[in-house]
Symmetry: C2
Subunit: 471 residues, 2 copies
C-alpha cells in the first residue's frame, strides 16, 4: 500500500496534470496508476477531487469517529436505547460539522429483544455451548426446550429424514461456502424444520471458522408454519455435535431463549446535506445503515459505512466545496431486521425519486482490497469509471459491477436511480460481521480514510458534473 | 512438512542404516536429517524407535481420542462432574488399551465454581462487555458491584495514582508481551489493587488479540489483603474502556460474579503403566494435566498433553514392546488451580523419587514448530540429544533446553530427576489457551501423531538404555 507521502505526491501530481481531451476508449484497461487519456468533462473536477482525497488521506478523523461511535454506544439494535442515543449523537455531530438541513426522518420499526439465552449439552455429559439467538426468533418456554439432537447437512437431507424430525432440535451443519449460498439455512431453516415437527433449530455459523465465534442474523418465518426458536452456534460447536452423533452417541440439548418481539419501536434515519448551489433539488444520495446487531458495536456492519459516507460530506464542508447538486447523507435505521429505514426513505422521498442522480451505499466494510461498483446504463458506467480511474494512485481498481445496497434499493427502484457501492474484502468481512468481534480494532485508519476519499470523489463528480448521470 | 510417505521412507531408512561407532561430537550440530555418527548405545534402540514412530505417524488415533475426550466431557475444571466422568473414562480406556496397573491416585483439590457472571458498562450508555471471571476469584454481592472505572497501564501507575483507587474498578490495560511478563497482572492484580481500596479488578486478556476472546486463568490472593473479585476481558473491550477514559468520558461499570470456592473436592490422578521387564522399580514418568478451565474442552491445555504421553505407552503396547524399565503415564489433576495432582504424586511416590530415571511433561500444546527440551546434567543431555537426532526426519529440531513441567516438578525436585518437555509453538498456544477457543479444531492430526512419536522415542530410549540416565 502506498504511504501517506506517496498518496499526497500522487494526488498533487494528479491535480497538476494538464487536462486531456476526451477519450472514448476504456480507461479502465489502461496501465494502473497512469494518468491515461481522460474525457474532457472530468478535467474540471480533478482539482477538487484531489483536494478531497488529500484531505481524507491526511486525517484519521473517520477512524476516530467510528471508534467514538462504537465505544460509546455499543451494539445498536433497532428499538434499543443505544441506537436511540446514537441517532441523537449523529444528528448533533452532523450539525457541528456544518452539514445542512440535518434532521431525523422518523419511522416505526420492528423491536426484537434478545433476552437471556443459553444452549447446553445435557447428555451424554452436561456442558455449555456457545450460541447466539437469531434475530426475530421466538423464545423458548422459561425452562427451555430439552430435546434430542438431529444433525443434517442440507435441506435435502432434512426432507429425506423428515420422519425423524418430530420432537427434535435440528442442527444445520452446513459448511460455509459463500454468504449467499449458506445464509438460507439461517433465514429459512427454522420454518423448514418446523414443517416436519422440529422444536427448534440451530445453524452452524454462516461464515468461516473464527475463535468459537457465533454469527447471529435474521431469520424469516414462513407465515403458514409454526414459529420455532432459531439460534446460531460457532463452527467448533457444530463440529462437536456432529462428531458426537457420528460416533453414535445420543445427544440431548437444552435451549433457553427469552427472546421476544415487542410492539414496533420509534426509530429514525439521520439525514444531513450539502445543499447544491445550482440544482439543489437534484440529489446524490450516500449512506450506510446505523443500526447493528447487539453483540458488538457493528464497526464494519455498518458503522464504518455510515462514517465514510458522512466523511464525504464533512470533507466538502471542511474544504468549503459546494457542488452543483445536493449531496445527502442518510444513516438508515433498521437494515438488519426490517429495512424500515430504507422503506421510510423511499416513501418519504417518492415524489423526488427521479431527482436522485446517483445513490451509493457502503455496507460490506472497508477491508482492503476495497473496490467501487456501479449499476446503471453503459454511458453512466463509463463516466463513473473515468472518475474511479482518478483513484488509481490510492489503489482502487477499475470500477466494477455491483452498485446498490439494501437501504438505497427501495428509492433506487422507484426512481430508476444509478447506484454505486463501496465494498471491502468479503473474506475479512464475513469473518466478523454479525459477531461479537465486529469491532473497530480490525479496521485500519487508512482503510477508513481511503474509503471516504473514494466516496467523496465519486460523490463530488456525480454532484458537480454539468449534466446529471444518464439513466 | 514431509508427507506420511516421506516419513515412512525416512524411518525405514533409519531402521535399516548400519550402526555407527560412538561419536562424542555434538550430533545436534550436524546436517539436519542426516544419519550422522551416532553413539553405540543408541544403535540397538533405533529399530524399536523407528517402529514406534512409524506406528504413530500412520495413525490418527491420538487426534481421534483427543476429540472424543473434548467432545464428550467439555471443560474439566477440578471438582466438576465433567472431570470426574472424564477420569473414569480415561482409566477404563487405559485398561482397554492394555496398560498395566491402571489406577486412580486420589487427592482432595480446590473446588472453584464460576457461576453466572457478567460485566456491563452502565455509563455513559449501558452496554454489555465480554468477560471471564478469574479462577479462584470471590464473587460479587448478588446485585453486583457498580463503580467508576480506573485504567492503569502498570503496577507503577497504580502505585503512583494510589489515592484514586478507593472505591473503583481497576482495569490493568497492559499490552501482552510474553506470558511470563504479563501474567502477573492477572495473578497478582486483584490483591495489588485491593491494597489501595479497589472494589474489583479487570485484566486485559493475557494473550494476543483474538476475536473478542477472553482468557481466564488463576488469580492468587495475598493473605493480608482484602479479597476482591477479578475478571479478564478481551483486548478489544480493554481498548474500548481505555479509549473512553482517554476521551475524558467517565465510565461506570457493573460487575456481577456468582463465583465461589466450595469445600475441597475429591479428585484423582489417572495412572497406567508398561511394567519394565528388567528393572520395574525404575520409572520413566510421562504425563500432562487432565483438568482444564471450563470455557472449552482444553484441547491444547492440556488434553493433548495427556493424549500424546498416553499414546507413547499405547504404542508400545500395540507393538508388544516392553522396555527394561517401567513407563508410567500420569494424567494429573488440578494443575490449573491448585497443582494438587502433582503434589499428591510427589507425596505418594516420595520414597521412589530417586528411582524416576526421567520425567517428561507436555503442557504447551503441540502446534508446529514443536520441540523437545531437556533439563539435567551434560552427559544425560548429550544422551537424549543423540536420541532426538533420530527424530530429525520428522522435523524435530536438536534437543533444546527447558525440560520439566508444573505437574512433574514436585517429584523431580525431590528425586533430582532429569526432566524433559514437549512444547508446541507458543504464539498459537497463547492465542487460545484458557479461552473458549481451546478446541480440537486448531490441532492437526499430524501434530498429535508427531508429538506422540517424539515422546514415544525418548521414553523408549530412557526406559531401555542399559544404564539409567546419569544425574
Amino acid at each position: 500500500m502506498p504511504t501517506r507521502r506517496q498518496v499526497l505526491a500522487a494526488v498533487t501530481a494528479m491535480a497538476a496534470a494538464p487536462h486531456r481531451a476526451v477519450a472514448r476508449g476504456r480507461p479502465s484497461q489502461g496501465a494502473a496508476g497512469s494518468a491515461g487519456a481522460r474525457p474532457g468533462w472530468v478535467a474540471p473536477l480533478e482539482g477538487d477531487i484531489s483536494r478531497l482525497v488529500t484531505a481524507s488521506m491526511g486525517s484519521t478523523q473517520g477512524w476516530d469517529r467510528l471508534a467514538e461511535l462504537c465505544d460509546t454506544f455499543g451494539g445498536r439494535l433497532t428499538g434499543s436505547r443505544n441506537l436511540e442515543l446514537a441517532i441523537e449523537w449523529a444528528a448533533e455531530t452532523m450539525r457541528r460539522d456544518g452539514l445542512e438541513h440535518v434532521r431525523l426522518q422518523e419511522t416505526k420499526a420492528p423491536y426484537w429483544v434478545r433476552g437471556a439465552e443459553s444452549l447446553d449439552i445435557m447428555t451424554p455429559v452436561a456442558s455449555p455451548l456457545v450460541m447466539l439467538g437469531l434475530g426475530g426468533s421466538v423464545g423458548t418456554p422459561p425452562d427451555g426446550l430439552t430435546a434430542p439432537l438431529m444433525v443434517v447437512r442440507s435441506f435435502d437431507e432434512l426432507r429425506t429424514r423428515a420422519s425423524e424430525v418430530t420432537g427434535r432440535i435440528v442442527l444445520y451443519d452446513v459448511p460455509f461456502t459463500s454468504y449467499g449460498q449458506t445464509v438460507t439455512y439461517r433465514a429459512a431453516g427454522p420454518s423448514q424444520a418446523a414443517r416436519f415437527g422440529a422444536l427448534a433449530t440451530l445453524v452452524r455459523s454462516v461464515g468461516p471458522m473464527g475463535l468459537r465465534t457465533p454469527h447471529t442474523g435474521a431469520l424469516t418465518y414462513q407465515a403458514d408454519l409454526p414459529r420455532i426458536p432459531g439460534a446460531a452456534i460457532p463452527v467448533e460447536d457444530a463440529n462437536r455435535l456432529a462428531r458426537l452423533v457420528a460416533r453414535g452417541v445420543p445427544v440431548t440439548l437444552r435451549l433457553r431463549m427469552a427472546a421476544q418481539t415487542l410492539a414496533d419501536a420509534d426509530s429514525a434515519n439521520v439525514i444531513g446535506e450539502i445543499t447544491g448551489r445550482e440544482r439543489p433539488d437534484e440529489v446524490v444520495l450516500l449512506g450506510g445503515h446505523f443500526d447493528s446487531w447487539d453483540p458488538a458495536g457493528g464497526a464494519s456492519d455498518d458503522g464504518v459505512g455510515c462514517i465514510v459516507t458522512w466523511e464525504a460530506a464533512r470533507l466538502m464542508k471542511q474544504l468549503a466545496l459546494r457542488p452543483r447538486r445536493t449531496v445527502r447523507i442518510v444513516l438508515f435505521t433498521n437494515e438488519e431486521n426490517g429495512l424500515r429505514g430504507g422503506l421510510a426513505y423511499r416513501d418519504g422521498f417518492a415524489a423526488d425519486a427521479a431527482k436522485h442522480v446517483m445513490a451509493l451505499e457502503s455496507d460490506i466494510g472497508v477491508f482492503e482490497p476495497m473496490r467501487l461498483g456501479f449499476t446503471g446504463n453503459d454511458r453512466a458506467r463509463q463516466m463513473m469509471a473515468d472518475v474511479v480511474d482518478l483513484l488509481r494512485p490510492l489503489g482502487f481498481p477499475p470500477l466494477g459491477p455491483g452498485g446498490g445496497g439494501a437501504d438505497i434499493g427501495p428509492i433506487a427502484q422507484v426512481g430508476q436511480v444509478p447506484t454505486m457501492a463501496l465494498s471491502g474484502d468479503t473474506t475479512q468481512y464475513f469473518q466478523i460481521h454479525h459477531t461479537p468481534a465486529d469491532t473497530v480494532e480490525r479496521i485500519a485508519p487508512r482503510e477508513v480514510a481511503k474509503a471516504a476519499a473514494g466516496i467523496a470523489a465519486v460523490a463530488w463528480a456525480a454532484a458537480e458534473m454539468p449534466e446529471a448521470l444518464p439513466r
